[in-house]
Amino acid sequence: MNKKNKIVKKVLVGISVMGLGFGAMAADPNPIKVGVMLPFSGVYGGLGDATRNGLKMALQEHAGELYGRQIEFIEMDTEAQPSRAPEIANSLLNKERADFIVGPVHSGVAMGMIKVLKDKNTIMIIPNAGIDAATGPLCAPNIFRTSFSSWQPSYPMGKIALEQGFKKVITMSWNYGFGKESLAAFEESFESGGGEIVKKILVPFPKTEFQSYLSEIGTIQPDAVFVFFAGGGAVKFVKDYDAMGLKSKIPLLGAGFLTEGTLEAQGVSAEGIQTTLHYADPLDNPENQRFRRDYQTNFGKPSDLYAVQGYDTGLMIASAVKALKGDISDQGALIKALETTEVISPRGAFTFSKAHNPIQNIYLRRVENGENQVIKLAASALEDPARGCKM
């Protein structure tokens, strides 16, 4: 009934070849079950798809190192509907008895999942949702994150804004968790360095009618504007900001999601926008170049941030399985193995903090010719403060 994916077959082929090498070892005949809880329809559908592709790609590449274990994927569409999240998580936990549950994209769904999965006999790996609480007050030994906390990408931007000479800044985002946490992180570093937030605008989610706010920004005339928007809202905001003639007069700064997966739709309006994020497509390292090439070959479209995060999740699972020689039945040992993994990611290698959030580099990027070009390293091996985590 569940989608047993093609990859299972491919993995099997890989194993029969590898089997010669590991001949002495009796492989556990049961597959490792990876539950995938991502949105495949609706606004977040594209993100879910990319994440899944990345995840599968990583596990496929490392199929030979899993000590004969097969991987079975069980995919569930969350529809980005938080109220359904507990039920789906419950089905992966109790019905499918998944060893790993990968998901979600949306922070609200993450809350619903954590409620069910916290301290349970499975490993939850968050490949995107940035909600601080997941590796803060709600942190748990069996919850990991391969993406970022909301705090991480925005925090370094405060310092950079000051370096560039901006003293008075307006911050703006949707009035929801991810946005508010991003603004708070920016404010934290910006204000501690002596900057002043002249106004904080919270737009009701998911409203995309920005005209009135932009008019207000034009009247206040700050040194710069720091925003958090993503997806469709980011497209609309960047275009409106440009059309109102503000871009050339008031520099636009943002958390990286502002120009992630949206550049094509934003067109020339995005040129010159500076953002901070833990990844950039043209990042110059061999892993990234190989990853982007292989992804293009495998899936016939360019990779993106979400694919990288999914890929790293796959790498993490593969490395833990490898470290434990295929036997993942002891949860304590499995958690230990995951905690100590160093993921050699296209974004650069990263390790995990005590709260199970990546300790990673954050890059300053600027949009040039429709690409997020890396300007410099904004923060090196940045660790989320994990406020409220008692682990």
Binding site: S41, V43, T208, G218, V235, K239, G245, L246, G267
Partner: protein, 287 residues
């Protein structure tokens, strides 16, 4: 709020209101003439935006894309009316709600199948890409002014068609008395097909026109649909004039609420609607 900002916000509000009118007019027209509540109206708006994006990719011309999209929308309207909506004339509102909810599901699925889920954007056509300086720092995009003018032209055209032409006469007659129109020897089912197709086309054209100043994303239809509901309920169901006034009011309330009570701004249009209904349960311009 100083006076310049006030004027800028006034322009913003009116401009937003005019776009709302363009979308809501089809909804209210279809309801007024046919008594059909089309929840899938927002999906038509979405379809329009996606079609515009698709054809701009292929033809490179915004005007041509707009034309092709409008024609396709018209055809969708005819097909949907002939196959589905036709069955509903003698049914109650509940069946209409359910059928059109089903249509939303189908349109959303088709959108995802055909065009994927990534946010898309259409560039503003070159000829309208400029901006006019408004205050020292704010410029106003020409395209938005074009959209406003376009909406006014559509409103005027609708006014003309409804009040001065034979089709308009039939539409007005159909609103007040279905049997009478039938007695006049008019093929009412053809009239309905035409009206429904025009309604769909208006929604799609609104999607096309809005495409360059919005992001084209899955679910964009449902979000706008609810705003349209507020517009037509305030204006009075079935009244084009009401939709016009309602749209402008909603545009202004929304814009000023965003500035004055930002935390509650998304609720304000609903509060405003409740207030209007308290005074006039049938809306401002009900027949």
């Amino acid at each position: 709020m100083d006076s310049t900002l006030f004027i800028v916000q006034l322009i913003n509000g009116i401009q937003y209101g005019l776009v709302l009118f363009l979308i809501a007019s089809g909804l209210t027209l279809v309801f007024g003439v046919m008594g059909i509540l089309n929840l899938a109206h927002g999906s038509m708006y979405m379809v329009g935006a996606y079609l515009a994006w698709y054809f701009v990719q292929h033809t490179g011309s915004f005007a041509l894309s707009a034309f092709i999209s409008a024609v396709i929308a018209l055809c969708i309207g005819v097909v949907v009316e002939r196959t589905l909506i036709r069955q509903l004339y003698r049914r109650n509102h509940l069946d209409q709600v359910l059928l059109t909810i089903g249509m939303i599901f189908v349109f959303n699925a088709l959108q995802s199948l055909l065009w994927g889920n990534d946010p898309l954007g259409v560039e503003v056509p070159e000829a309208l890409a400029a901006s006019i300086p408004l205050t020292g720092i704010i410029e106003y995009p020409v395209y938005r002014i074009f959209v406003a003018v376009f909406c006014i032209v559509v409103a005027a055209a609708m006014y003309y068609v409804i009040n001065k032409t034979r089709l308009g006469m039939l539409i007005r007659a159909g609103e007040s008395n279905r049997e009478m129109v039938e007695c006049l020897g008019v093929d009412i089912s053809r009239l309905y097909t035409i009206v429904f197709a025009i309604g769909v086309m208006l929604a799609a054209v609104a999607g096309v026109v809005a495409a360059p100043i919005s992001s084209i994303v899955p679910g964009m239809g449902e979000h706008i649909l609810i705003s349209c509901f507020v517009v037509v309920v305030i204006g009075g169901m079935g009244s084009i004039k009401g939709a016009f006034v309602g749209a402008l009011l909603v545009g202004l309330v929304d814009t000023f609420a965003s500035v004055l009570v930002p935390e509650l701004s998304s609720m304000m249009i609903y509060v405003f609607m409740a207030f209007v209904l308290l005074l006039k349960p049938q809306g401002l311009f009900s027949s």
